[in-house]
């Protein structure tokens, strides 16, 4: 059953799904997704999916490995640590806002806050921490917030991603909303996230080599050669949307947070490897 469907999806065929199948749990979604990519790339070990295109293309992998010698984000991570440890005007630090003082917790983000009824991403938590301590929020996509987030990720490297969808209708709705976003075609070019990253990973789209869904959020924030600096996951979402000529949504909008929630859940069990470099 799974196999037949996987093949059909891979062919991009429109598949009428029996209603009985609808309403699968997030965990069933995830297992099926893992199985799908294992079949698509039988030679790629599970943990390697976090390296995206570098798990699939040797020439690119070599370039990446040579960048790993001294990754260009090192300065930003050091600055992020400095900012993370520098007290706010009220004397408190970021550590006061996070479990375990903010160290080694990246793998738990984003999470669904059942009291506020919304998805909390790490960047959102960083800015809420600032605001609750009387500081101005940072801009969302790059700069200081990316550096702080990169430092926090760096203290969590190797920890398996552990996103939970609590037994709560709103949490499940947020997850489903993110999933719908991932699979819905958008923009004048009529592409969904999945058109590239589920149906065509390992292929070239012009000068870009497409990575698979699995492991995508493990790397963020990433230093892209194209940007020449670190950027957050939502900056990347906006870039992808823009590429297919769909109006990007604001960083940390509910839609993008739900998308991050779904996407990161799919990578449960894969290690945090951010920050990382990408073309």
């Amino acid at each position: 059953m799974l196999k037949a469907k996987v093949i059909l999806v891979a062919l991009g065929a429109a598949l009428a799904v029996p209603q009985a199948l609808a309403g699968a749990t997030p965990e069933e979604d995830r297992k099926e997704t893992v199985e799908y990519f294992k079949q698509m790339f039988p030679d790629v070990p599970f943990e390697e999916f976090v390296n995206g295109q570098y798990a699939l293309n040797d020439d690119r992998r070599k370039q990446w490995e040579s960048m790993q010698d001294f990754p260009p984000y090192e300065f930003a991570v050091a600055e992020g640590q400095e900012m993370f440890e520098t007290p706010f005007a009220n004397g408190k630090t970021y550590a006061s806002c996070f479990e375990n003082g903010g160290i080694g917790i990246r793998q738990n983000y984003p999470y669904f806050d059942t009291e506020k009824n919304e998805v909390i991403t790490l960047e959102l938590a960083i800015n809420r921490c600032r605001e609750s301590n009387g500081e101005e929020p940072l801009k969302w996509k790059k700069g200081a917030i990316a550096s702080i987030s990169a430092y926090m990720a760096s203290t969590s490297q190797g920890k398996p991603i552990n996103i939970k969808v609590p037994d709560d209708p709103d949490a499940l709705a947020a997850y489903q909303d993110g999933k719908e976003f991932y699979y819905s075609r958008r923009g004048q070019l009529n592409f969904s996230c999945a058109s590239c990253h589920v149906q065509n990973p390992g292929k070239w789209i012009r000068a870009d080599f497409l990575s698979p869904t699995l492991g995508q959020p493990s790397n963020f924030p990433v230093h892209r050669s194209k940007w020449g600096e670190l950027g957050t996951l939502h900056r990347r979402f906006a870039g992808c949307n823009n590429n297919v000529r769909a109006d990007p949504l604001p960083a940390q909008s509910e839609e993008y947070r739900n998308l991050e929630y779904f996407l990161t859940y799919m990578s449960n069990g894969l290690p945090v490897v951010g920050p990382a470099t990408r073309p």
Partner: protein, 103 residues
């Protein structure tokens, strides 16, 4: 202010392998900003690595070297615990220098 230079130097069988990363925009002078104005060239011209007062490597760079330049080189004659000095100067006369201990 943190140093603009990050260095790792490791000695093995008499050969010291040095890797350095320098924070610098390395503007080529061929790129325009979002307002359409050319960003003037701004780049490191010379970077030297010295050991015991002697240069063991001199890099002369132009604006085609990537932003936050990376350099790797290897030399003999140094041992673990020795100090290296890495210095650079750019086309606007700015400079920086740091020391690193060979591991």
């Amino acid at each position: 202010m943190a140093s603009s230079i990050r260095v790792r130097a490791v000695e093995n069988n008499g050969v010291t392998a040095l890797k350095a990363l320098v924070r610098h925009p390395m503007d080529s002078g061929f790129v325009k900003d979002s307002a359409g104005n050319v960003i003037p060239a701004h780049f490191i011209k010379v970077l030297t690595i010295s050991h015991n007062g002697k240069n063991v490597f001199v890099a002369n760079w132009g604006p085609a070297v990537s932003k936050d330049p990376f350099l790797e080189c290897r030399f003999k004659g140094a041992k673990k615990g020795d100090e290296l000095t890495i210095s650079w100067i750019d086309n606007e006369g700015a400079s920086d220098s740091t020391t690193a201990t060979i591991a």
